[in-house]
Amino acid sequence: MAQLESNPRGIPKAPFVGKVEEFTPETELESTLKKFQEMIAKYKYMEGHLLQRKQSLESKIPDIKKTLDMVEYLIATEDSTEPMLTQYELNDTLYAHAKIPSAKTVYLWLGANVMLEYSTPEAKTLLSQKHSSAKTSLEQVNEDLEFLRDQITTMEVNTARVYNYDVKLRRQRKEAGGKE
């Protein structure tokens, strides 16, 4: 097979079969088909992996957005003298009343059991960045998925054509054999 090109994330491009008879010698049809199957399986594996990533990003983005919403609300009410009245989730499905005097700092959970104090504007910047970078990676994942879809389609068409060519050859051989 000729040298394979790849997309920006290093996913190899599927080979295109122009004319089957030129692409593969008659004796190697079966091994070619097998190779194609293998490649499709590999592409599907990558697709599954990416779909998982997509799902995790799709659940992460609204999470970040929620936190961002709250920080933005805190910033908007920063100058109010009234304390903020809230019912917050003390535990799953358990809420408690709280009065919060205008908050200038918040604590962000950074993961790995680390929490850090941020001023509200800093928190907003950080969360916005996370939000947009998560969106960018989601776009990239979608791009990759589209690219993969292209390659899978190409390979499926290739497979169908090599297969059909094989069937045709066999029949011709049979017909030729019958005449003798």
């Binding site: 004319k19 929620k66 709250m70 989730e89 979608n142 879809r149 499926e156 169908a160 059909n164």
Partner: protein, 129 residues
């Protein structure tokens, strides 16, 4: 999508261009399904907000409304509440418009591709969902 190149020896040659068309069609097909799902989701959200805003018309003006921001409920005045809902509705309407115009665009190009591909491959190709 399957090629149904049966025994009829309709040995139409597949050129690189055809392959590109088939790929685009398949890709668009995937894209439109995603978009339609997202569209439905947003539409539902918008309906909820619409219900909410009409419900709030009936609320007492002096009452504080417990409005959900993030994971907590915040007591907001009715007015502040309605403002928030309004701005969210606006964003959603914009999103919905964007989605539906994207969907229209994709449907358009899919139909164009269908014409081209059916013309070339006839019954050997199946492009329906």
């Amino acid at each position: 999508m399957k090629m149904l190149n049966q025994d009829e020896e309709a040995d139409t040659e597949v050129t690189w261009e055809d392959q590109q068309n088939i790929n685009s069609f398949s890709r668009l097909n995937m894209k439109i399904q995603n978009l339609e799902d997202q569209y439905e989701e947003k539409k539902k959200e918008k309906e909820y907000l619409d219900d909410l805003s009409s419900e709030l018309e009936l609320a007492d003006e002096d009452d504080l409304v417990k409005y959900r921001i993030g994971d907590a409920f915040v007591s907001l005045t009715l007015e502040a509440c309605q403002q928030r809902i309004e701005s969210e509705q606006e964003i959603l309407s914009k999103d919905l418009e964007e989605f539906s115009s994207k969907i229209d665009g994709i449907t358009d190009s899919m139909n164009k591709l269908k014409v081209v591909l059916y013309k070339k491959f006839g019954t050997s190709i199946n492009l329906e969902r």
